[in-house]
């Protein structure tokens, strides 16, 4: 990308915000409860998993609901962005066919929209988390930094997935199945230390394991993440962005005609 490209992209900042605003409008139009609906899904999951794991499976994690919320919201950001990105180019086929603009803006708008939803959910659930926990851990100051790194990671995934799904339409269904599997392979409703020692190394190959562990450190354990933790997260973020963007750039010239 040259300096001229950067300037051109800056000119389209308004477009990014228009697209995010469009998604918000379309989603919440006509419902008086508005964004409260978007809290319904995490709320339902929190209730179900709490009941299932605390009272039925009786998992050995103190204050399980706090632990769950710490990992579930960041997972939700990742999973809903990935799902939405698979259709983000297809639903905007009309725009892509008509006007030339930097195509990256569409998946970026999808990620930004989901980030806003996540922030809204955090605004509601984090305080309730501290009521349950009894205190506010100081390590929470790391939260914005970790979320920012995760957003870069999610953007990389969204770029790659959105472009690939135009060429391979069934990727949309594969993504859904894959996310369901990945959810159970990520230590969200259990602790990584509960995984048999021989399998732990394999679990750590999952980037979401790294992210969720750090979120649990700062919001549940009250442990500051190490420099090594940040290095791993940044590595995943930069790696995903480079790969995702490379895939996207390769397909970008042909998106309009393939749709």
């Amino acid at each position: 990308m040259t300096a001229a490209d950067v300037v051109a992209h800056l000119r389209y900042r308004d477009l990014l915000f228009s697209l995010v605003l469009t998604e918000l409008k379309v989603k919440y139009r006509g419902s008086t409860l508005g964004f409260l609906w978007s809290l319904l899904n995490p709320l339902a999951l929190i209730l179900i998993y709490s009941v299932a794991f605390r009272y039925i499976i009786r998992i050995q994690i103190e204050r399980f609901t706090v632990f769950l919320i710490a990992g579930l919201l960041p997972w939700g950001f990742f999973a809903s962005s990935a799902t939405a990105s698979t259709i983000s180019l297809m639903v905007n086929a009309g725009l892509l066919k008509k006007v030339h603009f930097p195509r990256e803006i569409l998946p970026a708008a999808t990620v930004l929209f989901n980030l806003i939803q996540t922030l809204l959910a955090l605004a509601v659930f984090l305080p309730s988390l501290f009521v349950l926990r009894g205190s506010v851990p100081w390590t929470l100051v790391f939260y914005p930094v970790v979320l920012a790194i995760q957003a870069v990671f999610v953007l990389g995934v969204a770029l790659g997935l959105s472009a690939l799904t135009v060429s391979f339409r069934d990727l949309r269904h594969l993504t859904e199945v894959g996310l369901t599997m990945l959810f159970w392979l990520t230590p969200i409703v259990y602790r990584i230390s509960m995984v048999p020692a021989g399998m732990q190394a394999a679990f750590r190959l999952n980037p979401m394991t790294s992210f969720v562990s750090v979120y649990q450190d700062i919001a549940y354990w009250g442990r500051p993440p190490s420099a090594g933790d940040f290095l791993v997260l940044a590595g995943w973020a930069v790696g995903a962005l480079l790969v995702g963007w490379a895939i996207f750039r390769r397909r970008a010239p042909y998106l309009a005609e393939d749709l």
Binding site: R11, Y12, D14, L15, F17, S18, L19, T22, K25, V26, R29, G94, L95, L96, K97, K98, V99, H100, F101, S167, F168, R169, D170, L171, L174, P253, Y254, A256, E257
Partner: protein, 268 residues
């Protein structure tokens, strides 16, 4: 003079997928069983097209269905990418490619005006300044807060043309856009286009209405099967097209129609 639009030796090849869209499944199964492999063929929608449009000139683009007119405009608008050759456009382009395309159906007319403004690279403030004129020209005041999905196709066209017409472009690309508007709106659009010509805009205009083409254009380009069949003064090119059409209707009737004119024969 440097041309405003410069198309040089432009070739465009499409991949035709005979079994719906490609899937990962078919790609993987195809490795094992060639019968499951998708039949893919390529064909040239444009072949060696070269043309210049001078600043301030209005070029008409005519030709039978499937001859490549819309493809050419999309390449100029840079939403399609050349297979070979090059397209150079000097100045701000305002595309008006097919009605309705580019509108978000769930949004109201007003919201779509703002969305389209930012799509075409305007800031919110610039669009705000143009907004009253756009609405007035479209005569859609009473429907501006209604979702676009409830518009008629003529209303789509009105909104689309009004937006494109007010963006203060240097180059205007118009594809079929006016044909669904009613008599009054079509006349208004033609007047507007005459104003644009007077103001020195460069216009490329695709239409099947030869009378409109004759009235508005300085030169005309006739595309047949993706090749430039004729390019020059309005009368000569239009009558050449009419001759070809006459041959078509008296002969076997398939000389010009949308067939695959030039399968490249390559199977990917």
């Amino acid at each position: 003079m440097t041309p405003a639009i410069e198309v040089r030796n432009l070739w465009k090849r499409f991949v035709l997928r005979h079994n719906r869209a490609e899937t990962l499944k078919s790609r993987i199964m195809g490795v094992f069983d060639s019968r499951l492999r998708e039949r893919r063929e390529t064909f040239w929608a444009l072949q060696d097209v070269t043309l210049n449009v001078q600043p301030g000139e209005t070029l008409g683009l005519i030709g039978p269905n499937g001859s490549g007119k819309s493809t050419l405009l999309r390449l100029i608008a840079r939403t399609y990418y050349p297979t070979r050759g090059s397209v150079t456009v000097r100045g701000r382009v305002s595309p008006m490619l097919e009605i309705g395309v580019g509108f978000h159906q769930e949004l109201t007319g007003q919201e779509n005006i703002y969305l389209n403004g930012s799509l075409l690279g305007l800031s919110r403030r610039e669009t705000e300044r143009l907004y009253p004129a756009i609405v007035e020209f479209s005569e859609l005041e009473d429907f501006i807060d209604v979702p676009v999905k409830n518009y008629s196709s003529g209303m789509h066209a009105r909104l689309g043309f009004s937006i494109a017409a007010h963006l203060d472009p240097d180059v205007l690309l118009i594809d079929e856009a006016l044909s669904v508007g009613d008599e009054g709106f079509q006349r208004k659009c033609q007047e507007r286009m005459q104003q644009f010509r007077a103001r020195g805009l460069t216009i490329m205009f695709v239409s099947h209405n030869l009378r409109t083409v004759a009235a508005l254009c300085d030169r005309v380009c006739l595309l047949v099967h993706g090749k430039v069949e004729a390019l020059g003064p309005v009368d000569a090119v239009v009558s050449r097209y009419q001759e070809l059409t006459a041959v078509m209707t008296s002969g076997d009737g398939r000389m010009l129609g949308p067939e695959l004119p030039s399968r490249s024969g390559e199977t990917l």
